[in-house]
């Protein structure tokens, strides 16, 4: 439904987004994930129409909207800091887009009711933004966007300013909302847990380039680049005969038989995290540490300073280039 064809962006002679071609499916929850400055927000702003691609085209349902101004695109953006109008009530904020579309009063009424019901804002309709908590403001921003019934909703780190607990609640709320609305979501975040928990597909980006595109399961279990392997979850990177491969901590085994192990080392830290039990090992041969999630069947109590053998199955190696 949305197609980016060779979209590229330069700022002052510097490449911010390398040529990118991507098709976003209808009803999909797609996340652009990467560290700050990786170009993910620029892509979102090009979709919204606030930035013009240096080259390439953006199509929505087959129609070229590359040159259309933001107010004539059938997509809405939820801003990082919400950008609610301070001089308008919650109701008037939500009504703004509907007024601009010149919808009949009755339909505006209905859409506002629907949007506030979905975001649980009904009792707060007459309040001003500064009278609301961060989480409530966030909901208003979403209600204001979805009242327009856009084909695509763009979200720029919408939970970035909230504390962890609230974030977790809103993550599942947002995901639920997306399912029930059936609207395509394009979501930007630097939080890999958030991306994993919400998305149908994740686009991992670094330095303006796409590192990998795939479902959460694919990008976790089959990372294709070194960046993808280390950015999502914890990983151990090994190099053998010029070949780079990654083995997840839960795929490594800590064994007492040092001769049978692929690597040997010394424990420098033991971490007990409730559901998992981890040891950090300084390897003998290489100047690096690895992290091992211990098997729950292992009743040996490992101590800091103890010698340990590090072992894994060849099939758990994930090649990430050379």
């Amino acid at each position: 439904m949305i197609e980016l064809a060779g979209v590229e962006k330069h700022f002052a002679g510097q490449v911010v987004v390398h040529p990118l071609s991507l098709t976003i499916k209808e009803g999909e929850f797609l996340t652009l994930l990467g560290p700050s400055g990786c170009g993910k927000t620029t892509i979102l702003r090009m979709l919204a129409g606030f930035e013009q691609p240096t080259s390439g085209r953006i199509l929505l349902d087959g129609a070229d909207l590359t040159k259309l101004p933001p107010n004539r695109r059938d997509l809405n953006l939820v801003f990082q800091h919400y950008a609610l109008f301070p001089h308008m009530t919650v109701e008037d904020n939500i009504d703004f887009g509907l007024k601009m579309k010149k919808l009949p009063t009755k339909e505006r009424r209905e859409r506002i009711e629907e949007a506030v019901a979905m975001t649980q804002l009904t009792p707060l309709m007459k309040r001003y933004p500064h009278q609301l908590s961060g989480g409530q403001q966030q909901r208003v921003a979403i209600a204001r966007a979805i009242a327009n019934k856009p084909k695509v909703l763009l979200l720029d780190e919408p939970l970035g300013a909230l504390d962890l607990q609230l974030r977790k609640n809103l993550q599942s709320e947002l995901k639920h909302l997306q399912r029930s609305l059936g609207i395509t979501f394009v979501y930007v975040t630097h939080d890999q847990d958030e991306a994993m928990m919400m998305s149908d597909r994740i686009v991992i980006m670094n330095n303006g380039q796409v590192e990998q595109i795939g479902s959460p399961r694919e990008v976790y279990s089959k990372p294709t680049t070194l960046f993808a392997a280390t950015f999502i979850g914890e990983n151990n990177i090994f190099s053998e005969e010029g070949r780079l491969f990654a083995v997840r901590p839960e795929k490594l085994h800590g064994i007492r038989d040092l001769d049978a192990a692929r690597r040997t080392g010394q424990i420098i830290d033991v971490q007990y995290l409730g559901s998992i039990h981890k040891v950090i090992v300084q390897l003998d041969e290489e100047p690096m540490t690895v992290s091992i999630v211990l098997d729950s069947s292992d009743n040996h109590i490992w101590q800091v300073g103890e010698r340990i053998g590090v072992h894994w199955d060849t099939r758990d190696e994930v090649n990430i280039g050379s």
């Binding site: 129409g49 107010n71 800091h81 301070p86 601009m100």
Partner: protein, 268 residues
């Protein structure tokens, strides 16, 4: 507030306040003095205020002052607001340079402003009068309006205008429904400051005024040369009260913005 400051500090502040305000207080007090002589106090009266309104010279000067103030305020508010809006869209370098240039009339000594304007008007053979005073007042008032409105614009939350556009508003609608309500307190207080500046300007007006365009400050100056009368004290008292009230009002409006940080752009 409990302070552990040296006791002398309090006395020092008190003396400072007396030093600053005694002259003004004396003017106000003597405007109610029934004696013509400033030196002795012979009872309380409102007579000087009443006789002001019967004085046709004062009334003419008041009319001139108000016409100049109203016209120069309207024009400078429009131009100052427009320049503040325009400057936001330019590059950083231009912004810094232009901002400095627009701030300059506030710093340039009034006497130089007055002299340079006088030279300009005579160069172009523009007869001195109300029009030249209005033009002169617009010149320095634009700077005040520009500074106040720019500060308000900078204080505007990020993304509001983009949000409006994203929700389907065109350029005019974005300005009308989002930008304008956000900067309105700045525009109003800028206008009040411009009005006050015009009301009590003497130096610049003195250079560019002509026959039949005497403003109140110029009238007061002319009278004082012939000795300070209680009538002048009364006139000054009225000017003080009007100016102070207007400036306080401007500050109040500027600070009223909901959920916004307090902001004062002028040194008062």
């Amino acid at each position: 507030m409990k302070s552990k400051n040296h006791p002398l500090l309090g006395i020092h502040s008190l003396l400072m306040m007396i030093f600053i305000y005694i002259p003004i207080i004396i003017i106000i007090v003597y405007s109610f003095n029934s004696s013509r002589l400033a030196a002795d106090w012979s009872g309380f009266t409102f007579d000087w205020y009443l006789s002001l309104f019967e004085n046709s010279y004062v009334m003419e000067a008041l009319t001139n002052t108000l016409i100049v103030a109203v016209v120069s305020t309207v024009v400078s508010t429009l131009l100052g607001t427009m320049s503040a809006l325009a400057m936001r869209k330019t590059t950083k370098k231009i912004k810094a340079g232009m901002g400095g240039l627009l701030y300059l009339p506030i710093i340039i000594p009034d006497i130089i402003m007055g002299l340079s304007l006088l030279m300009l008007f005579s160069q172009f053979h523009i007869p001195l009068g109300r029009l030249t005073i209005i033009i002169a007042h617009i010149t320095f008032s634009i700077s005040y309006v520009h500074v106040v409105v720019s500060t308000r614009l900078t204080g505007m939350k990020d993304g509001l205008e983009e949000a409006a556009q994203d929700l389907g508003a065109g350029a005019w609608q974005t300005f009308r429904f989002v930008t304008m309500p956000q900067i309105l307190p700045g525009i109003i207080s800028g206008a009040i400051i411009a009005f006050t500046m015009s009301l009590d300007d003497f130096m610049v007006s003195f250079f560019v005024s002509g026959p039949n365009s005497t403003t109140l400050p110029i009238y007061i100056y002319g009278q004082v040369k012939r000795g300070i009368s209680p009538e002048i004290n009364a006139l000054c008292t009225i000017l003080i009260i009007v100016s102070v009230t207007l400036i306080l009002l401007a500050q109040f409006i500027l600070n009223k913005g909901k959920g916004q940080k307090k902001q004062s752009v002028l040194p008062f």
